[in-house]
């Protein structure tokens, strides 16, 4: 089948072949030499890389074909389609070559296919969300996996004792425990692939996904421990071995995390110095992360944890240090590699299933396993959630629990682990392999297909039965926004004491060490944009004397404005001054007939247009789409509008209050990290606090020199000689995605009340 395709590409090969040494020339002396060969078949030289390239090509072409049909991709997750494709291809190969080639080799899988996916996940993991929910994630990862492993293993053993599993499956309790340990781990690849299609709230996503990443340590330890026990023979296991097993759990997980952090540190440090060699920055990122993976793998520590920690740890500093183009390159390459690896994995899973020489069927075992993993996962999730809800600030409700238990997919990791088993030590290996294949297929295909409808059905069931009125729509959004805002005011997220401490430590030591000097200042382009936004707005506003002037309307330069067909100055008046007066606008007469249709249209408009409150955002970890998602766009819009309004109100209040002329101290970037406005005034004894609960760095810049230049034209600026201090907070996401919270603040806030109220301590 493959050779048929090759003549199409014969020409380049011929070119390559003609320059080769004629090694394949028959050397028998009796025949005359055949002469210079114009065309030679050099298949063996290129076989291995060619096959690799070809498989990846086939997988990518398949993806293109899938996405041609919108309908199919909306119903069926890609992972299912890929597995089915793999099955089909495997069948073809089997039929043609009469033997199964191209298996999912554990070596290839663990060394080449898994690292890109884990790196991609670790790098793009929202760290704040991750650490906020770390308790829940760890509980599910550690306790949940252990629970699943032991209960499944024990139940299967019980099944065997009860005779439901055929005696030809020779397995003792330890064998079943071993099997339980490898089948119980939730797989990050599968989870990501399916959850991308199902839009759940971000907390749920991060919990399931974090669990799938962190349980690697547990799985690795359990697998190794049980494997060694099986090899030693159950009679030889002593009590100390159990203790060693427990200890190795800590060693593996903490060691893996430590390796990851070490490499994260190295990576951040090296990127600090790459200013002149920008071109190697993406390469550094990938190499060091891969090195972390391999080092952990070499030391038998948890490699997935290492890469995850490396990605999480280095991201903030790397993003600050590397150039904009490198950032894009890293992002894109990571996504491409991960997507490609995932595709190949699923396809190979499908293909490997076809080789029946590797597996043996036992119905009792298969059905029992399927039932037990579902049952025990659900039970485990319910129990753990009940315990966790006592401690969590935001409880996990029933839908979340259903999604969590249903979304515990098994995938290629289980398959690779089962293939690694030694048949001489574990005689039941073939049965286990068959069972694993069935389990993986079932979870990915059946659960993957049905999870979306299930979630929809549950959500629809919970919501109100009648169609919400416009009022309810609007007010519901209002309430959500209010709640989100008040939560921010209250500082809703937990653990903030430790987060504060970490951020102080980070500011003082780490960031200075790991981040480039110039990264302290707000990135020039971002700063420029917002500086220009505010000053330009200010100038325009003030230029027009604070009133709306011409009938052409006032549009501030960078403001996204609503396109209005008939833009009257009255509209502008309302928009800009926001007066409290109730103007009786000429209502644009909409046709009153067809009320229902109108209803529907308005609902549609409103729903589509309303800004989504925080809770409704879907997680932005998407393998397949890098486009700026709606949340960012929304945030930008809202932010610009808010800042504009604040600027306006600031302008209007300043006319009422007269400030003392105080020379703002030039403070540009000579100080590295300062917090808030506090340092411009009397010193405060309090430790600087970060309110945004992002990883932030606050920088104060006084803009007075530039501002004075620009404001020469406007008188009102000149008469109050105040500096507008832009307190710019750069979050890690901010630097990456180019948004900055800029708050305009008055330089001497204390002085106003002093002016107005006549002094006060």
């Amino acid at each position: 089948m493959l050779r048929a395709a090759l003549p199409l590409l014969g020409l380049p090969l011929a070119g390559a072949g003609a320059t080769e040494e004629p090694t394949q020339e028959p050397g028998s002396p009796g025949e005359p030499p055949p002469g210079l060969a114009l065309f030679r078949w050099q298949w063996h030289e290129v076989e291995a890389p060619y096959l690799v390239a070809l498989w990846i090509l086939v997988a990518s072409l398949a993806k293109i074909v899938f996405h041609l049909s919108r309908k199919v991709t909306s119903l069926v997750p890609e992972s299912c389609l890929l597995i089915l494709l793999g099955l089909a291809l495997g069948g073809i190969v089997l039929a043609v070559a009469k033997k199964a080639e191209y298996q999912l080799e554990p070596g290839t899988f663990f060394l080449f296919l898994l690292p890109p996916i884990v790196l991609d996940s670790g790098y793009f993991m929202p760290s704040r969300l991750f650490f906020d929910n770390l308790g829940a994630i760890l509980t599910y990862a550690v306790v949940g996996t252990l629970w699943n492993a032991f209960t499944t293993g024990a139940a299967l053993w019980g099944l065997q004792q009860a005779g439901l599993v055929a005696p030809r499956v020779q397995a003792g309790l330890l064998d079943f425990l071993l099997f339980g340990s490898l089948i119980s781990a939730v797989d990050p690849v599968a989870v990501l692939a399916v959850f991308e299609e199902v839009h759940v709230n971000e907390t749920l996503f991060i919990i399931v996904f974090g669990e799938s990443l962190l349980n690697d340590a547990v799985t690795v330890v359990l697998y190794k421990v049980c494997n060694s026990f099986v090899e030693m023979g159950s009679a030889n296991v002593r009590a100390t071995d159990y203790l060693k097993g427990v200890a190795s759990l800590f060693v593996v997980s903490l060691g893996g995390a430590a390796v990851g952090l070490v490499f994260a540190f190295l990576l951040a440090l090296t990127t600090r110095f790459t200013k002149r060699v920008r071109i190697i920055e993406p390469l550094l990122v990938f190499l060091l992360a891969y090195a972390a993976y391999l080092t952990a793998e070499m030391a038998s520590l948890s490699a997935i944890l290492a890469v995850t920690m490396c990605g999480l740890g280095c991201k903030k500093y790397v993003e600050a240090n590397i150039s904009h183009k490198s950032r894009t390159a890293v992002k894109y390459t990571m996504k491409t590699l991960a997507s490609c690896a995932e595709t190949v994995i699923f396809m190979l899973l499908g293909i490997s299933a076809v080789d029946s020489s590797k597996w043996a069927w036992d119905s009792g075992l298969v059905l029992g396993t399927l039932f037990f993993i579902l049952f025990f996962r659900a039970l485990g999730v319910v129990l753990q959630t009940w315990v966790l809800n006592q401690f969590r600030l935001v409880p996990l409700d029933k839908i979340d629990q259903v999604v969590m238990s249903y979304g515990g997919l098994r995938g290629a990791v289980a398959f690779a682990l089962v293939i690694l088993l030694d048949r001489t030590k574990v005689p039941a290996k073939d049965y286990f392999v068959a069972t694993t294949i069935v389990v993986v297929f079932f979870t990915v295909i059946v659960q993957g297909l049905t999870i979306k409808p299930l979630v929809k059905w549950l959500k629809v069931k919970r919501s109100e039965h009648h169609k919400p009125t416009l009022n309810q729509e609007l007010h519901e959004h209002t309430f959500d926004h209010i709640l989100a805002a008040v939560e921010d005011v209250v500082g809703h997220h937990g653990y903030h004491y430790w987060r504060d401490r970490w951020e102080q430590f980070d500011k003082k030591y780490l960031s200075q060490l790991l981040m480039r000097r110039s990264a302290y200042r707000i990135r020039d382009q971002i700063w420029d944009v917002y500086y220009r936004l505010n000053i330009r707005d200010a100038i325009s506003f003030v230029d027009q004397g604070g009133h709306v002037l011409s009938s052409t309307g006032l549009t501030l330069p960078s403001m996204p404005s609503r396109n209005s067909v008939a833009e009257t100055s009255v509209t502008n008046l309302l928009r800009e001054s926001g007066s409290g007066a109730c103007l009786d606008l000429q209502v644009i007469d909409t046709v009153r007939s067809g009320r229902d249709r109108e209803d529907a249209v308005m609902h549609h408009l409103l729903c589509g247009g309303l800004y989504k409150p925080r809770r409704r955002y879907k997680a932005s970890c998407s393998r397949h789409f890098i486009s700026e998602d709606a949340q960012e766009r929304q945030d930008k819009e809202v932010f610009q509008q808010n800042m504009k309004r604040r600027l306006e109100s600031f302008k209007s209040t300043k006319h009422n209050i007269c400030f003392t002329k105080s020379k703002p101290r030039p403070r540009k970037a000579s100080r590295k990290k300062k917090d808030g406005v506090a340092n411009t005034e009397a010193t405060n004894g309090k430790p600087p606090r970060d309110l945004g609960f992002h990883d932030t760095a606050a920088v104060i810049l006084t803009v007075e020199s530039e501002e004075e230049e620009d404001s020469d034209s406007s008188e009102t600026e000149k008469e109050d000689d105040e500096g507008i201090i832009f307190v710019a907070r750069a979050t890690s996401e901010v630097l990456q995605e180019g948004k900055v919270s800029v708050g305009c603040s008055n330089k001497n806030p204390d002085k106003d009340p002093h002016m107005k109220f006549g002094g006060e301590p």
């Binding site: 709640l483 008040v486 209250v490 409103l606 247009g609 809202v638 808030g676 932030t696």
Partner: protein, 196 residues
């Protein structure tokens, strides 16, 4: 939080605050710590700017209005009791409270009506007790993305006011507002669980 050893005695008027707002000691403690954290310069009160520096509020469409609601009657300072009083609206509703509440006592701050009032005054900027069409339009402008045109917004505002307006005065009074939301689970939507 636990390693901060501070006495409840340092919170001024803690008992009357507890009485008024219904917060537990622990919640008041937490809020007091938060208040002090927000008050970066140690002034003892909060100004608008302190609240504006909460980054997440800048990307919330209603962020500025919420900040304004902390400063009633145009005041420029927010002291701790004021802070707590506003937040008391968001305390989860206790089931037991409703049953044996003395009807002569003022309604607790976190009752359904008071929660609704809080939301109402976010709309009703001129405090005339009604949400006029214009105010509705302004609120809509805040909350809807720029791809919706001005005409569309106006018609939505019209319809919204019409739907809720029962006595035909072209504005939504508080009672009409409450009635339009009678099916919504306000108690759950406007409660922050940690503020017990």
């Amino acid at each position: 939080m636990g390693s901060r050893s501070s006495h409840a005695a340092r919170i001024p008027d803690v008992d009357s605050l507890r009485q008024e707002t219904g917060f537990s000691q622990a919640s008041l403690r937490r809020l007091y710590d938060r208040f002090n954290a927000l008050d970066r310069t140690g002034k003892g009160y909060l100004s608008r700017m302190d609240l504006q520096q909460i980054g997440a509020l800048a990307v919330n469409p209603l962020g500025d209005r919420i900040i304004d609601s902390f400063f009633p009657d145009g005041s420029l300072r927010l002291d701790f009791p004021g802070f707590v009083r506003v937040l008391a609206h968001f305390r989860p509703v206790d089931e037991e409270d409703d049953g044996n509440r003395d009807p002569k006592e003022p309604e607790p701050l976190n009752s359904r009506m008071n929660k609704l009032r809080f939301a109402f005054q976010l709309y009703d900027l001129d405090r005339d007790g009604k949400i006029s069409r214009h105010e509705m339009l302004q609120a809509l402008r805040l909350m809807v993305g720029v791809q919706v045109t001005e005409e569309q917004l106006e018609s939505i505002a019209d319809r919204t006011v019409q739907e809720a307006d029962e006595d035909g005065d072209g504005a939504v009074s508080f009672l009409e507002f409450a009635k339009s939301l009678e099916k919504m689970n306000i108690e759950q939507k406007m409660s922050i669980r940690i503020l017990k």
